[in-house]
């Protein structure tokens, strides 16, 4: 650490706590802000990773001129920046790609695969794209900051229901965002600026990116109990207790359906209890809806929890993603809806959302949203979509059944019924990290170390191999 500070000082970067060096009045940092920055810097500098150690021997980190640099920049101003580790989820695919085994199986990333193990572009998407390309009147002018208007309206209807009173009363503001992540981030930033309770409760466990998104948005992140490893199901009592003891007004992140990573969803009765508890404590629901239609195969059924909350007249936020249910992963299509008490509030909220978006990326990308709008507004395409969606959901459900049957057939010890009880793309197998390592090493099965597998990556052909691997892992490591 000392070495890095020395190189910083060599560049005249005095410690941020000595504010006298930065005498300009435009720096309005309080000492606590500079402490924060210093802490952040220190955190990054002392971050001990194996990669970091090898780099500290790098001659470029010491003060020696490289051939192409002038004497002024003998040392890099980026010398103190360490290499970040690979993203834990995406790192699984990196490792998978390196494996030469012919029987390797990638059950890491949550992207749908066909029975043949190939990525899928929906027919309706291809049709919609063709329509767009053929339409000679189409231009590429900037979208409004809030995105494609038609798309926003259709997205709100999709999640809230076409007959939603909240929509009819103009109490919903919907802004196009960059898929689920972008919607969550914009919502988080808005809340951090305008909401009075800056704590968000996220379920334990949850998607790995959630805490990072909300922390960077400016919220403080706490957790509520969710998954019960003993039952491999919902720790409902724990959930109620934790939400019950949350401070009034706190924000609560809820997975609308197909909880990631566990696949464990509350029942409708449990949702009703959650709703009543939350409303009684004025807790603010923030739904993450990344799998509408993908979980059960029915768009309406998967939207039920969200609609229940909206039906009681209360306020909530909903982040939508079309990455999975329309297979538009790379196009980054999503939307943030904020259901407010009144049209006037919704209008003011929307104006403030624009102030969050403009300095982040100005306006959202047009292509994916145009595809979605084309499909949602066309009766035939919409119907075709629901059929393709159901087919994807059904294939996943079938994989669950096949895996369950295969484990039963092998007499694998343990209760594996959670495989067919859990819902959506992922199964939380309950395997521990030792067993996971074993499965990767001996059977070339790639999954995240928490025991999560993506059912979308399985096929009838590969189920037996996975079942063998699980069986071996469970019997080798009791």
């Amino acid at each position: 650490m000392r070495q890095q500070f020395t190189s910083l000082e060599a560049h005249g970067f005095e410690s941020p706590t000595t504010q006298s060096a930065f005498s300009s009045s435009s720096i309005s940092s309080s000492s606590s802000a500079s402490d924060r920055r210093l802490k952040a810097l220190a955190r990054h500098l002392v971050d001990a990773s194996p990669v970091m150690d090898s780099h500290s021997q790098n001659p470029n980190d010491t003060v020696s001129p490289s051939p192409t640099s002038s004497a002024f920049h003998a040392d890099s101003v980026f010398a103190h920046i360490v290499r970040a580790p690979e993203d834990p989820i995406l790192g699984v695919t990196v490792a998978y790609n390196k494996d030469p085994s012919p029987v390797k199986l990638n059950l890491g990333v949550g992207a749908y695969r066909t029975e043949e193990g190939k990525p899928l572009v929906l027919n309706v998407v291809r049709q919609a794209e063709q329509q767009l390309v053929n339409d000679r009147s189409r231009v590429k002018e900037y979208l409004p900051i809030v995105g494609l208007a038609e798309y926003n309206k259709l997205s709100a209807k999709l999640i809230l229901g076409a007959d939603s009173p909240a929509i009819q009363e103009n109490r919903v503001t919907t802004v196009q965002c960059l898929s689920g992540t972008g919607s969550l981030r914009v919502g988080g930033e808005f809340l951090a600026r305008h909401y009075h309770q800056l704590t968000i409760y996220i379920p334990l466990p949850t998607w790995g990116n959630h805490p990072k998104i909300f922390t960077l948005a400016g919220l403080s992140v706490k957790t509520y109990r969710y998954y019960d490893p003993a039952t491999r199901g919902l720790d409902f009592q724990g959930l109620l207790e934790d939400l019950g003891s949350a401070p009034s007004g706190a924000i609560v992140l809820l997975h609308a359906c197909a909880h990631n990573p566990t696949g464990v969803d509350p029942t409708i009765q449990q949702w009703e209890q959650i709703r009543q508890l939350m409303r009684s404590k004025a807790l603010l629901p923030f739904f993450d809806s990344a799998y509408q239609g993908f979980a059960s195969g029915s768009l309406d059924a998967d939207a039920q929890p969200v609609r229940m909350f909206v039906a009681d007249g209360g306020e909530c936020l909903v982040a939508q993603s079309y990455a999975k249910n329309m297979g538009l992963y790379g196009e980054r299509v999503g939307a943030l809806s904020i259901v407010c008490k009144s049209a006037d509030v919704a209008s003011r909220v929307e104006s403030q959302l624009k102030l969050v978006i403009r300095p982040m990326y100005s306006s959202p990308p047009i292509h994916g949203a145009s595809i979605v709008a084309t499909i949602l507004k066309d009766r035939n395409l919409y119907t075709e979509w629901t059929i393709e969606l159901k087919a994807m959901a059904d294939r996943i459900i079938s994989m669950r059944q096949q895996l369950f049957d295969a484990l039963r057939a092998r007499g694998t010890p343990g209760d594996w019924s959670h495989i067919i009880k859990q819902i959506g793309m992922f199964t939380f197998t309950g395997l521990n990290s030792e067993q996971v390592v074993f499965m990767t090493r001996e059977y070339h099965i790639y999954m995240t170390s928490d025991g999560r597998i993506s059912m979308a990556g399985l096929s009838s052909r590969t189920v037996p191999h996975l079942a063998d691997a699980i069986h071996a892992a469970v019997t080798s490591f009791a």
């Binding site: 720096i27 004025a282 990326y361």
Partner: protein, 468 residues
Amino acid sequence: MTSTSTSTMLSLASASLTASLSVHENLKGRLKLGGGSLSFNKEKANPFIKTKSFSRISMVAAIKVSRFEGVTMAPPDPILGVSEAFKADNDQKKLNLGVGAYRTEELQPYVLNVVKKAENLMVERGENKEYLPIEGLAAFNKVTAELLFGASNPVIKEQRVATVQGLSGTGSLRLAAALIERYFPGAKVLISSPTWGNHKNIFNDARVPWSEYRYYDPKTVGLDFDGMIADIKAAPEGSFVLLHGCAHNPTGIDPTPEQWEKIADVIQEKNHIPFFDVAYQGFASGSLDADAGSVRLFAARGMELLVAQSYSKNLGLYAERIGAINVVCTSADAATRVKSQLKRLARPMYSNPPIHGAKIVANVVGDPTLFNEWKAEMEMMAGRIKNVRQKLYDSLTAKDKSGKDWSFILKQIGMFSFTGLNKAQSDNMTNKWHVYMTKDGRISLAGLSLAKCEYLADAIIDSYHNVS
């Protein structure tokens, strides 16, 4: 709990309250409201409860008022709001010189032919829509860095550039700002006075302090070079200096090559870090290489620098949001580390960037035939702007008898012209002449046709001479 047969729905903002109100004693939970004053009458009763019968379950919203009641209406964006106002205007003579989007002589939006070709190819190929890596499309990152620095540039050959696909210029600037905030805490960004209106918003939201360096000289309607140098010199060592690579927005005034050298000198002297915003490569002079001259000059000195790129204007891909942040480092190792940290900042913002625009750019720039066609279209667009400048200048000189020197119109470069009109005069342009522009006196020549030059000249002359 009581249930009412009619549901009562009240909007907090509405002045009138409906007659049937139900009062609830047992409201659980306190309600705290955010900042800002509430504008409703404080009645003893709780008028804002909605109760609704739903079979035998009565669903009570325990929330009395909106949690967002204190949220105020934000003003419209000063730049994008201009187009909205323009749309609302029904006058036939109206002219939109607000936002910097290229228009044809017929004042229509323009989709480049190479873009249409690329999109057709993409649809024919039927590629998949899988997630891009966090850093974006590799093929795009490669060609975008090469376009900027030149494929044979040492920074490219030595792999010293960290390139991450970003959401056009704004998104790329924001990633860089986030990097500065995290790794250069307390460091300041110096921005030109004036500069693009969104720059300060980006740094504010990223919590990066900024201050201005003198740039525009209203007396000469040119560059206040001495002021610029003095202010850059006076800034604390190790500041980031935001420079417009070419076609300065909003003024259209660029430093000369000699001036660029001197700017580089003072930046090196103070160990500042140059931070280029390159939104108009190819659009300024018509030549992609010439417009990258300033960036390449700095890179050639072995300096480390940041460069944000945008393909909104030069490839007309405005709505596709395609750009990149490039960080030139002294070593390939540093570039690798910087890239990894940029990824760490992108992941909680939007996970990974959109494919469509990236593929278009990769296809156009990566294919020699399409690339040459692009260069031709680029020259055509830049050429039209130059013609319009000339016509406007001619019209102004012909019509204005005061002897005012309008030659700055010809000297300025790129999409915009800083007319020197103040706010009141700009308002006159809009209110009297239905010419829409930004309040700082900036007009977008990309939105001007040869046919409208005379009308615009009349408007400018009137506003300049008759309004103070």
